[in-house]
């Protein structure tokens, strides 16, 4: 990697790549020279080590190294935007670098701190609230960092609540008259879904709601409307990495209610209910067994405590800061002036991509411009 850095924002990523490559080379040399590892009865371990090192290098090559060798101006603009978010909300970990090379939707590589965004998303505002969701993933995945230990403690307490809930369900099932074996398996699968991914996703949704506000719930609404999935769908048997969209929306609204956003909750709920009605989807019995309101409420409370405990700014109706205002007002404008929204969005994005960290985020002459400046430093 002898190329010059495309921008200072990429320096940590480059250093991380160089360290990872050095580490992989050292481990490969060890596989070739360590007499213990070369023993015939340890061939399985040697093969597993080898495959994992190669897999790590391949992942590094297709993500971070691609980002460093094919930089785009939009990567820099969004990396700066994430840096502003990091400052605004007092995010306790280093801000990730953004690349617009995602082939899917928004995602983050937590160990490389590389946030991947689809190329076109840097030209629109309405999905950018998902940046807040993605930066929450490292708060769960990072290990041994005392700055976020209290957040993880709340998360762990929630996982324990999940296990206790499904233990109780299994015990009640043993006393029931229904097909016991079937439901026992169902409750094991649901517990597995929750602990493997659903709890994580719902905590990240709630982090976004607590640090950004209603714009995140609107973004989830928009994303769900544009997909074909049934918001109540629970696949058993099967595999579900993410919770049903209905459960995600319910927990977000609980979070917003906790913070006192009465009017936005009412508006979002009204649009959501109309959307669900239009799809013809209905809650199934398994949906409520999978996503009971008490678990969603417990998640809302635990995530709120966790987010507060690490010193992140929790939004209120009085909160004002540039990125927060931009993303929330984009949604307000989208609903209030749909005919002029796209022109306004185009101008705002153009302005966003050319401003530096201390400049205004909204273009001159915008009726939404509140002339709020980024704080110095």
């Amino acid at each position: 990697m002898s190329r010059a850095l495309p921008a200072v924002e990429f320096s940590a990523l480059r250093q991380l790549c160089e360290d990872r490559i050095d580490d992989a080379i050292t481990k490969l040399e060890e596989l070739l020279t360590d007499p213990l590892l070369l023993r015939a009865d340890l061939v399985q371990e040697r093969l597993r080590f080898f495959r994992r090192i190669i897999a790590d290098l391949a992942l590094l090559e297709t993500t971070a190294i691609t980002t460093l060798t094919r930089p785009h101006q939009d990567d820099i603009a969004l990396s700066r935007l994430v840096f502003r978010i990091h400052q605004e909300i007092d995010y306790p970990l280093p801000p990730p670098v953004v690349t617009c090379l995602s082939r899917e939707y928004f995602s983050i590589n937590t160990s490389l701190r590389l946030l991947e965004v689809p190329l076109a998303e840097s030209d629109f505002l309405l999905h950018l609230p998902d940046l807040y969701h993605e930066i929450a993933h490292p708060l769960i995945a990072t290990r041994n960092n005392p700055r976020i230990a209290s957040y993880q403690s709340e998360y762990n307490a929630f996982l324990k609540t999940v296990s206790q809930h499904f233990d109780s369900e299994r015990k009640a099932n043993m006393k029931s008259t229904g097909p016991k074996e079937y439901f026992d398996r169902v409750f094991h699968i649901l517990e597995y879904y929750w602990i493997r991914g659903w709890a994580n996703e719902i905590f990240c949704d709630l982090f976004a709601v607590y640090t950004l506000g209603p714009a995140y719930a609107w973004a989830h609404f928009h994303l769900t409307v544009s997909q074909e999935a049934d918001p109540y769908d629970v696949q058993i048997p099967g595999f579900m990495s993410h919770p049903p969209d209905q459960a995600r929306m319910e927990s977000m609204l609980m979070g917003l209610e906790l913070m006192g956003f009465v009017t936005p909750v009412s508006e979002i709920r009204q649009h959501w209910d109309a959307f669900v009605k239009a799809t013809g989807a209905r809650p199934t019995p398994i949906y409520r067994r999978a996503c009971p309101s008490e678990l969603l409420a417990a998640a809302a409370v635990r995530a709120h405590e966790g987010t507060k405990s690490i010193g992140c700014r929790i939004v209120s109706q009085e909160t004002s800061s540039p990125v927060h205002d931009l993303l929330n007002k984009a949604w307000e404008r989208f609903w209030s002036s749909p005919n002029t929204y796209h022109d306004w969005e185009r101008r705002t994005i153009a302005s966003l991509k050319t401003t530096d960290a201390r400049e205004k985020l909204l273009p001159e002459g915008s009726e939404l411009q509140d002339a709020r400046e980024m704080p110095a430093g």
Binding site: A55, L159, E201
Partner: protein, 124 residues
């Protein structure tokens, strides 16, 4: 909201446990008695951590849930196998049959690492 963020974190945590267990399995075969004894107790502690319902570590809770679901597919038994192995290793070096079972636990973690990585790459 794609799988990348979620699976990336899961992969890192699984990988960390898989590497720790494999390293300890290598050291367990070390001809130097102190090294193999240390590895024996390290594996026992790791298995205890994975079967402790009161753990304060969410990463350990995650790996436990995954093993509980996946281990029976590889080893024919779930977490009870880990508990039995932990009990044995706390008292004495493993028998040849127990070494095979430890290999199955390691294989199970490794398989889950591979399938999580495949999911990150969008292969499934």
């Amino acid at each position: 909201m794609s799988n990348g963020g979620l699976d990336g974190g899961i992969y890192e945590q699984l990988r960390s446990y898989a590497d720790t267990l494999d390293r300890a399995l290598v050291a367990l075969r070390d001809s130097e008695a102190s090294a193999s004894s240390r590895a024996q107790h390290e594996i026992a502690a790791l298995l205890r951590e994975l079967t402790n319902g009161e753990t304060s570590d969410p990463a350990s809770r995650l790996v436990t849930a995954i093993l509980k679901e996946r281990l029976p597919l590889v080893a024919g038994q779930g977490l009870a196998l880990c508990e039995a192995l932990a009990r044995a290793l706390e008292q004495r070096p493993p028998t040849s049959a127990e070494l095979d079972q430890l290999e199955q636990v390691a294989l199970s973690l490794d398989k889950e690492c591979s399938s999580t990585l495949a999911r990150i790459k969008g292969k499934r």
